[in-house]
Amino acid sequence: MSKKELSLGADFTKGLWDQNPVLRQLLGMCPTLAVTTSAINGLGMGVATTFVLVCASLMVSLVRKAIPAQVRIASYIVIIAAFVTIVDLAMKAKFPALSKSLGAFIPLIVVNCVILGRQEAYASKNNPLRSVVDAAGMGLGFTASLIVLGGVRELLGNRTVFGFQLLPDVWEPWIVMILPAGAFLTLGLILGGVNMLNRHREQAALQTARRASLAVKEA
């Protein structure tokens, strides 16, 4: 039985919310927690990861039929590592300050499970166009989550977002927010909020379905 195929638009948007790598699948937690001391760090890491994800997905999808199943993971890792090194070199060459700020976490994109996960779960089974669309959606969802997390931590811990001061000087910065504990606290609260929102949506959908069912019966 063939699985119902999503439209290209749905393939893209699923990564933004319903299958968001950070907020729904809890993947890539290491860079998510470690680099999000500011919004710009979140953006830099998100864009770098998205680039690697899209390029690796395209490449894996193109060569998927030529790679024997026994060496597929090794091949994917080599492909991912090559794109990560390209991002690392490009960042050092063009954005040295951001590269210094993200430090070892750029090379560590190689082991980000979002990337290998999408190759194994999607790119190795779908055509290049679908793989790129799926990767772009996942990358965008990952980037948006990191920017929100970094933005909240930067705002409360430093009064700024993207370097612009948003809270007045009387606000005493919460240093804990830019320390590792702040990452866990913020992520926990965001995940709680997302779960609550999803539960409300599910309950609302259920009630609508019940009402519709009752209306049909009464009719």
């Binding site: 001391t37 060569v63 030529a66 790679i67 024997p68 026994q70 060496v71 090794a74 091949s75 080599v78 492909i79 590592a81 090559a82 090194t85 390209i86 070199l89 490009a90 050092k92 060459a93 063009k94 040295p96 210094k100 430090g103 811990g157 430093n158 910065p173 240093i175 830019i178 320390l179």
Partner: protein
């Protein structure tokens, strides 16, 4: 046998293509990375001792530049040295007067200290502006703030300078006016970072003296 050969060929081809691509990328990026590092280094030297740096002297992890002013006179020294910080290495540049008796400045080039605490070892943008707009670098009261830790290496209390004898020590809870020329006030809640920087500065000046003695004087 056939599948083994297929697996080997796949890995070899994937590896070779990745290697070739990276070699091309490295050829493009390497000169730009070198240029960025050179610009960063030159900007730091120019900030610490305005003038023209001579060719660097390298030994035992220490790099030193003599800096000459417009008349060709020795304007001072800049020394680059790295040591262990709270979490990772701290890479700093230290400015010395021409006689190497006083420390005239400090700039942290790289560190991984705790954000919001140990990162106060770095000059903040406000610190940098203050230094650039104070030609004689007599910073007066500005140094009387734990968050202005690096300013102590430029001047303290009425423009006096720290000793470059390699005997700097970190103290806590002392008033700035009571500090001796070899005493540096620690950053609140970041004593280890403060001590690390002081240890790096002490090691750097001692190593520079040894290097110059070996070369037959300054």
């Amino acid at each position: 046998m056939k599948i083994t050969l297929h697996m080997l060929a796949t890995l070899i081809i994937v590896g070779a293509l990745a290697g070739g691509g990276l070699s091309l990328m490295n050829g493009w990026a390497e000169p730009l990375i070198q240029e960025n590092q050179r610009q960063l280094r030159d900007a730091a030297i120019g900030f610490l001792v305005p003038g023209t740096p001579e060719e660097a002297v390298d030994q035992d992890g220490l790099t030193a530049w003599r800096v000459r002013d417009a008349e060709g006179q020795l304007a001072g020294w800049v020394v680059r040295y790295a040591g262990v910080g709270f979490q990772d290495k701290i890479d700093v540049m230290i400015a010395l007067d021409p006689e190497r008796r006083e420390i005239r400045g400090l700039k942290v080039l790289q560190d991984s200290e705790t954000p919001g605490l140990g990162t106060w070892i770095r000059l903040s943008p406000a610190n940098e502006t203050l230094l650039l707009t104070t030609p004689d670098r007599d910073l007066g009261e500005a140094v009387n703030d734990a968050k202005n830790y690096p300013l102590q290496f430029f001047a303290y209390g009425g423009g006096k300078h720290l000793s470059a004898a390699g005997d700097l020590e970190v103290v806590k809870g002392k008033k700035r006016k009571d500090l001796a020329p070899n005493q540096v006030q620690a950053i609140t809640a970041a004593t280890i970072s403060s001590r690390s920087v002081v240890a790096i500065v002490n090691a750097a000046v001692v190593k520079l003296d040894a290097l110059l003695a070996q070369q037959g004087g300054a």
